[in-house]
C-alpha cells in the first residue's frame, strides 16, 4: 500500500504553540475569583495522628476552607486505580485521600487549605496543629516481610502481592549447567522529574458539574473523584491539558480529589500546583527492587536455567504495585528461550514514599539484572556479547516462561546485531587514565495494557462540509505525539492534508473515552479506533464516489482531497463534492469506533501462565563508555538504539521517543537516586537529586527496523516505554568491559566504580 502521510517525518501539530509559549499548561490557567490550595503533609514517616486542630487556620482572614479526613465524604476507597472494568481483588488497593489514624509516609497529605492567595494558604498550613505519636515504622522491604514486622497499614498484611512463574525443572537445569552465575542486584527509588509538576484548576459550573482541568495521563479518574465526593459520575468532568511530561507519574490521581473537595466546599474555582520539592517528596516513585539472580548455561553457551527472586518496595500504599510487580515477573527471565525457569516475586509495604507507574513499569528493573547476568555468562564462557544473545534470545514460534508463544516476527537477533555493529571499529583511548568499553543489552517490553484488563479505546472522526476533519478522542497527550499520530491516520485514510484536521483530546464530557495514556497503548489502541472510524467514513465516501464516477469501488483511491479512478486518473471527483452529495442524501459523515484489545481472564492464582500482554516490542542498545580509572567517572560516548517499531508512523517522533528513552534511563544508570533514609528523603530538590543536563547527554543514534508485525495501525508497535529499556544494563556492561568491575547497584556512581576497582586489585 502506498502511503502519503504515514511514515514521513512530520512536525507535531502541537509543536509550534509549545515552542512559542502559547500552550496553556495546567498551571497557566486561571479563573476569576480563584482560590489557591496547599497541602499539609506529614512530618513523620510513621506516626499515629492524635489530634488535628484546624481552628486557628480557619480563622486566618482569606482562608476559605481547611479540610481533613473527616471532611471527605468517602476518604477510603477500594480502588481500581483508573481502570473501568473489573481487575480482580488482587489488583485493587486502598486509595486514601487524606491521612487518618496513622500516617504511613513522610509527606502524606494530612489536610487541605484553600485561600485567597498562595501566601495566605501557606500561612494557614503553619496554623494547623497536628499532634503525632511517632511510631517505629519499617523502611526495608526485607524487614517488612519478617513475621512481627511493624504493620504499615491498619489491618492488611505488609505483603501487597506475590507472583511466580514455573517452567521445566529448575534443579535439573542447574545440575546440567556447566557454568552458573549468581548475583544480587539493587535498583533505587527514582523520580519521573517531568518539567511540569502536578497541577490543576477546578471549578463548579452553572450546571453543578465539577470541572477539573488537570495535567493527567488518565482522565478516567473522574469516576474515582465522584466516588470520593459521593456524587454521580456524570457530575465530575475531567479536562486533560497538554502535559509537560508524564512518564507514569500522572497515571495515578495527583491533585484531582483535593481540587474537587475544595471546590465542593467553597463553591469557588481552586488552583493547586505542587512545588518541585512536593513532587519529589510526596508523589509516586519508581519501585526499588532487590533482585537475586542465578543463571546457568552449558559450555557451548546455551542458557538452560534461570532463577530469580524479586523483592519490590511498594512504599506506603498499594497504587499500581501489583501491576508493576506482574510486569516485572513476566519480564524476569528476559527475552530468552530458557527451558527451566523459576521466578518468585513479592511487593511489600514500607513507610517509604509510595511507588507506582514509571516509564518501563516493572520491565526495566529485571532488565538491569538479566542483561548483567547474560554478560557475565558470556565472560565466563569466553563468548562475545552478541553471540550469546543471538544464541539464546526468543524467536518467532518460541515461548515465554509463562507459555505465551510469539506467533509474530521477533526481531531480537536483528536489532542486537544492528545496534552492536553500528558502534563501528573499536578504538583505544589515547589517555592512559581512560579506558574505553562497550556494552550491549537487549530487551522486550509490552505495549498495550495487561490483557485481563479488557482494554478498549474509542475515537470519533467527522468530516466537515468544507472538507476539513475533526477528531474527538479522549487521549491525553504527554508530549509524546499521541494526538499527532491520530491526525496522521485520518489524513492518510481520508486523503486530506494534516493542516485540515483539528483534534480535540482529553475531555470526559466531550471526547469519547480512549483510556489511559499509559502502558504504551495509545498508538495501538486509539490509533486502531481512529483508523476504524476513518476507514468507515472512507468506505462511505468511496461508495458514493463510485456511483458519481460510475467506477467500481475497488478501482478508486482517495488522495489529495480527490477520489480518483485508478485506471483512468483523469476521472475523479473532489472530496468536497462527495461530501456535499453525502450530506444532501443524509449519509453520515461521522463515525465513532471502538477498538478492543485481546481479552484474557484475570489470573486465578499467584502462578502466572499464558498471555498477559497483547504483544511486545523488541529493542537493543549498544553503548561505548570512557571510564576514568582515577575518578571512576563514566562518559557515555556513543549510544545506538535499534528497535523494531513495526511501522514508524512519524519517523521524527519515533526517533524522539528513542532518544528520550535513552536519556531517561542513562540517568537511571549513572546518577539518579532518591536517597530515602529511615523514611526521610535526603535528596529533596534538584540540587541533590541529579538528572542529566544537556551537557551530559551524548548523541543517540537510532536505527528503526520496520517489520510491519505490530498490532497497531499499519503494523506499528508501541515504543514509548520500551525505548528506555536496556540502556542501563548496556552501560553497566560497558563499564564492566572497560574496567573489569560489575556494578550491581544503580546508579553506577564514580565512587562505586573507583572503590570496586580498588577492591579488585
Amino acid at each position: 500500500m502506498e502511503l502519503n502521510v504515514i511514515g514521513k517525518g512530520l512536525p507535531k501539530v502541537d509543536a509550534w504553540a509549545k515552542v512559542k509559549g502559547k500552550t496553556v499548561y495546567a498551571d497557566d490557567f486561571s479563573l476569576p475569583g480563584m482560590l489557591y490550595a496547599k497541602v499539609l503533609r506529614s512530618k513523620y514517616p510513621a506516626a499515629r495522628i492524635l489530634s488535628i486542630d484546624t481552628s486557628r487556620a480557619k480563622q486566618l482572614p482569606g482562608v476559605h476552607a481547611v479540610l481533613t479526613a473527616k471532611d471527605v465524604p468517602n476518604n477510603n476507597l477500594r480502588a481500581k486505580f483508573g481502570q473501568s472494568t473489573d481487575v480482580g481483588a488482587q489488583f485493587e488497593g486502598l486509595y486514601r485521600v487524606l491521612a487518618e489514624e496513622k500516617v504511613r509516609f513522610l509527606g502524606e497529605p494530612v489536610a487541605l487549605v484553600a485561600a485567597e492567595s498562595l501566601q495566605i494558604a501557606e500561612e494557614a498550613l503553619d496554623l494547623i496543629e497536628v499532634t503525632y505519636e511517632p511510631l517505629p515504622g519499617v523502611f526495608d522491604p526485607v524487614e517488612a516481610l519478617k513475621p512481627g514486622a511493624y504493620p504499615v497499614g491498619e489491618n492488611e498484611s505488609n505483603v501487597v502481592s506475590r507472583f511466580k512463574i514455573r517452567k521445566g525443572d529448575i534443579d535439573a537445569g542447574f545440575a546440567a549447567a556447566d557454568v552458573i552465575v549468581e548475583n544480587t542486584y539493587h535498583v533505587p527509588f527514582v523520580d519521573h522529574a517531568y518539567l511540569e509538576p502536578e497541577s490543576g484548576v477546578a471549578w463548579l459550573d452553572e450546571d453543578g458539574v465539577i470541572n477539573i482541568r488537570v495535567s493527567t495521563q488518565v482522565i478516567e479518574h473522574f469516576r474515582t473523584v465522584a466516588e470520593v465526593l459521593g456524587l454521580p459520575q456524570n457530575r465530575v468532568r475531567v479536562i486533560g491539558t497538554w502535559l509537560g511530561g508524564g512518564f507514569g507519574g500522572k497515571e495515578d490521581i495527583t491533585v484531582e480529589s483535593f481540587l474537587a473537595l475544595l471546590v465542593w466546599k467553597t463553591g469557588r474555582p481552586v488552583k493547586l500546583t505542587y512545588t518541585r520539592e512536593e513532587s519529589l517528596l510526596a508523589h509516586s516513585k519508581r519501585h526499588p527492587f532487590l533482585m537475586k539472580y542465578k543463571t546457568g548455561a552449558t559450555k557451548d553457551g546455551r542458557i538452560i536455567a534461570l532463577e530469580a527472586e524479586l523483592i519490590a518496595d511498594a512504599g506506603a500504599y498499594t497504587y499500581l504495585t501489583p501491576w508493576v510487580l506482574l510486569y516485572a515477573t513476566v519480564n524476569a527471565a528476559g527475552p530468552y528461550d530458557i527451558p527451566n525457569v523459576k521466578v518468585d516475586s513479592v511487593a511489600v509495604l514500607t513507610n517509604n514514599p509510595f511507588t507506582s507507574a514509571n516509564r518501563g513499569f516493572g520491565a526495566i528493573q529485571p532488565n538491569v539484572a538479566y542483561e548483567s547476568q547474560v554478560d557475565e555468562l558470556a565472560r565466563v564462557l569466553g563468548m562475545d556479547p552478541l553471540t550469546i544473545r543471538q544464541k539464546n534470545c526468543l524467536r518467532q514460534g518460541a515461548s515465554l516462561a509463562t507459555g505465551f508463544t510469539f506467533d509474530r516476527y521477533v526481531a531480537l537477533p536483528e536489532v542486537a546485531e544492528k545496534a552492536w555493529q553500528a558502534l563501528g571499529p573499536a578504538k583505544e583511548s589515547q589517555d592512559k587514565r581512560i579506558r574505553i568499553g562497550r556494552g550491549l543489552a537487549i530487551g522486550m517490553m509490552s505495549y498495550g495494557r495487561l490483557t485481563f484488563l479488557h482494554d478498549s479505546s474509542r475515537s470519533y472522526v467527522k468530516l466537515e462540509l468544507d472538507g476539513s476533519a475533526v477528531i474527538r478522542c479522549g487521549v491525553p497527550d504527554l508530549g509524546g505525539g499521541q494526538a499527532q499520530a491520530l491526525c496522521q491516520i485520518v489524513a492518510e485514510e481520508l486523503g486530506i492534508p494534516i493542516e485540515k484536521i483539528k483534534i480535540y483530546i482529553s475531555d470526559t464530557a466531550l471526547t469519547p473515552l480512549a483510556g489511559t495514556t499509559t502502558a504504551t497503548r495509545q498508538l495501538y489502541m486509539s490509533g486502531n479506533a481512529t483508523l476504524k472510524a476513518a476507514r468507515e467514513i472512507k468506505e462511505r465516501l468511496l461508495t458514493k464516489a463510485s456511483t458519481m464516477l460510475n467506477v467500481r469501488k475497488a478501482y478508486l483511491k482517495i488522495e489529495n482531497e480527490k477520489i480518483v479512478s485508478l485506471v483512468e486518473p483523469g476521472n475523479f471527483v473532489s472530496l468536497k463534492d462527495v461530501i456535499a452529495q453525502c450530506s444532501s442524501e443524509g449519509i453520515e459523515l461521522f463515525c465513532e469506533a471502538q477498538f478492543n484489545a485481546p481479552f484474557t481472564d484475570i489470573p486465578a492464582s499467584e502462578l502466572i501462565t499464558g498471555q498477559t500482554h497483547p504483544d511486545f516490542t523488541f529493542g537493543a542498545y549498544a553503548v561505548e563508555v570512557a571510564v576514568d580509572l582515577e575518578t571512576g567517572v563514566v562518559e557515555v560516548q556513543k549510544v545506538v538504539a535499534c528497535y523494531d517499531v513495526g511501522k514508524a508512523l512519524n519517523v521524527l517522533n519515533v526517533e524522539g521517543q528513542l532518544e528520550g528513552g535513552a536519556i531517561y534511563c542513562l540517568g537511571y544508570a549513572l546518577m539518579e537516586e532518591l536517597v530515602v533514609d529511615q523514611g526521610r528523603l535526603k535528596t529533596p530538590s534538584f540540587s541533590e537529586y541529579l538528572i542529566p543536563t544537556a551537557a551530559d547527554v551524548p548523541d543517540v543514534e537510532t536505527i528503526l527496523v520496520e517489520s510491519g508485525s505490530g498490532l497497531g495501525p499499519y503494523g506499528a508497535k508501541g515504543v514509548g516505554e520500551p525505548a528506555c529499556n536496556s540502556i542501563a544494563p548496556a552501560i553497566l556492561n560497558a563499564i564492566r568491559d572497560a574496567v573489569g568491575v560489575r556494578i550491581t547497584s544503580l546508579p553506577a556512581t564514580p565512587e562505586k566504580i573507583v572503590f570496586a576497582m580498588q577492591k579488585k586489585q
Partner: protein, 285 residues
C-alpha cells in the same frame, strides 16, 4: 512559592545601602543575583528577613586594574568574569573556575560577592580567589572600610567574619600573568553540579624549580582551605614524578571532608590526590 514574611528594600546608592544595612542589623539580608537566597527562601532556611536588593548598584560592578592589583566589584557576575580578557590573562585560575561554575543561566545572575558572602565550602568562585591570595574589601557604617584576607574570611560552612551591616564592595588580588594556573572541579555531572572536590592552583617557576605555589581546595573541609603543608613541601623543588606522587599523598592529610548524600569522606579524600596531580600537570602543560 510565595516570599511572604519578608521586607524588601532596594536602595539606590552604596551609601544608602550602608545606612539601610546598619539599621536592619541582624535582620538585613543582602540579595544580588538571588541564586542562593531564593532557594533558601523556598526551602524555608531563611525567614523574617529584610531583603536588601543591591543588584542595580553600578558602583559595585566592574573589573579594574591599578598597577599590579586587580579589583573586581562585588556585583560583577560570573559571566562578566568569563567574558573578561583581563581575568583570562591576569587571573587564569579564576577564569577557568568561572567556566565550570553552575550553568550559563546561573552564571548570568550569580555575583562574585554573593559567592563569597554565601560562604559555601564548595564555592567555585572562592577557591580560585583563595589560590590568588585575594583580599575581601568590606564596608559598613559602624566599622568603615575593612580589607580582610580571604583565608581569614570564612569560619565554617555558611559562616564568615562578615558582621551585620557590612557589605562586600570588592575583592582584589595581585596579577598572576607571569604564573601558571589550574582549576579543576569534580562534580557528579557536567553542569549544575555542586563540587564534590575542587582545586585551584597558582604556580610560579624559577627555571624548572617551583618558586612559589598556592593551592586552594574546595568542598574538602568546613571552609575552602589552603593546602599549606603541600605548598611548603613543593616550594623550591624541581618537579618530577616522585615529588608529585609524594605531594599528592601529603595533600590528602590536609583535608577533612564530610560524608553526605553526594559522596563519602573516603571518596572525597581519594579525589584530593587525583585533583592535585591533574592540577599540577595542567599548570605545567
Amino acid at each position: 512559592m510565595g516570599v511572604s514574611g519578608f521586607a524588601y528594600i532596594s536602595p539606590s546608592t552604596k551609601e544608602e545601602t550602608l545606612t539601610v544595612l546598619s539599621e536592619a542589623g541582624e535582620k538585613g539580608r543582602i540579595v544580588a543575583g538571588s541564586t542562593n537566597v531564593l532557594p533558601d527562601i523556598r526551602a524555608r532556611k531563611i525567614a523574617g528577613c529584610i531583603l536588601v536588593d543591591i543588584s542595580h548598584l553600578r558602583e559595585l560592578k566592574g573589573i579594574e586594574i591599578a598597577g599590579d592589583t586587580v579589583t573586581i566589584g562585588s556585583l560583577t557576575t560570573i559571566s562578566e568574569l568569563l567574558q573578561s580578557a583581563v581575568i583570562a590573562k591576569e587571573a587564569g585560575v579564576l577564569w577557568q573556575a568561572c567556566r565550570c561554575f553552575a550553568d550559563p543561566l546561573v552564571r548570568n545572575r550569580a555575583t562574585i560577592g554573593g559567592n563569597i558572602a554565601n560562604a559555601s565550602p564548595a564555592a567555585d568562585g572562592v577557591v580560585p580567589l583563595l589560590a590568588l591570595e585575594a583580599t575581601v574589601n568590606v564596608e559598613s557604617k559602624a566599622r568603615g572600610k575593612r580589607a580582610i584576607p580571604l583565608d581569614e574570611f570564612f569560619t565554617g560552612p555558611g559562616k564568615s567574619v562578615l558582621e551585620p551591616g557590612e557589605l562586600i564592595t570588592s575583592v582584589s588580588f595581585a596579577k598572576t600573568s607571569a604564573m601558571k594556573s589550574a582549576f579543576i572541579k569534580f562534580g557528579l555531572r557536567k553542569a549544575m553540579a555542586i563540587s564534590l572536590a575542587s582545586i585551584g592552583m597558582v604556580v610560579g617557576f624559577n627555571g624548572d624549580t617551583i618558586a612559589r605555589v598556592s593551592i586552594a581546595l574546595g568542598a574538602l573541609a568546613p571552609t575552602p582551605v589552603r593546602a599549606r603543608e603541600t605548598e611548603k613541601y613543593l616550594a623550591g623543588k624541581k618537579i618530577d614524578d616522585e615529588i608529585i606522587a609524594r605531594a599528592s599523598e601529603l595533600i590528602k592529610t590536609e583535608v577533612n571532608p564530610i560524608s553526605d548524600v553526594r559522596a563519602s569522606r573516603d571518596y572525597r579524600q581519594h579525589l584530593t590526590g587525583v585533583l592535585f596531580r591533574r592540577a599540577i600537570e595542567a599548570a605545567l602543560a
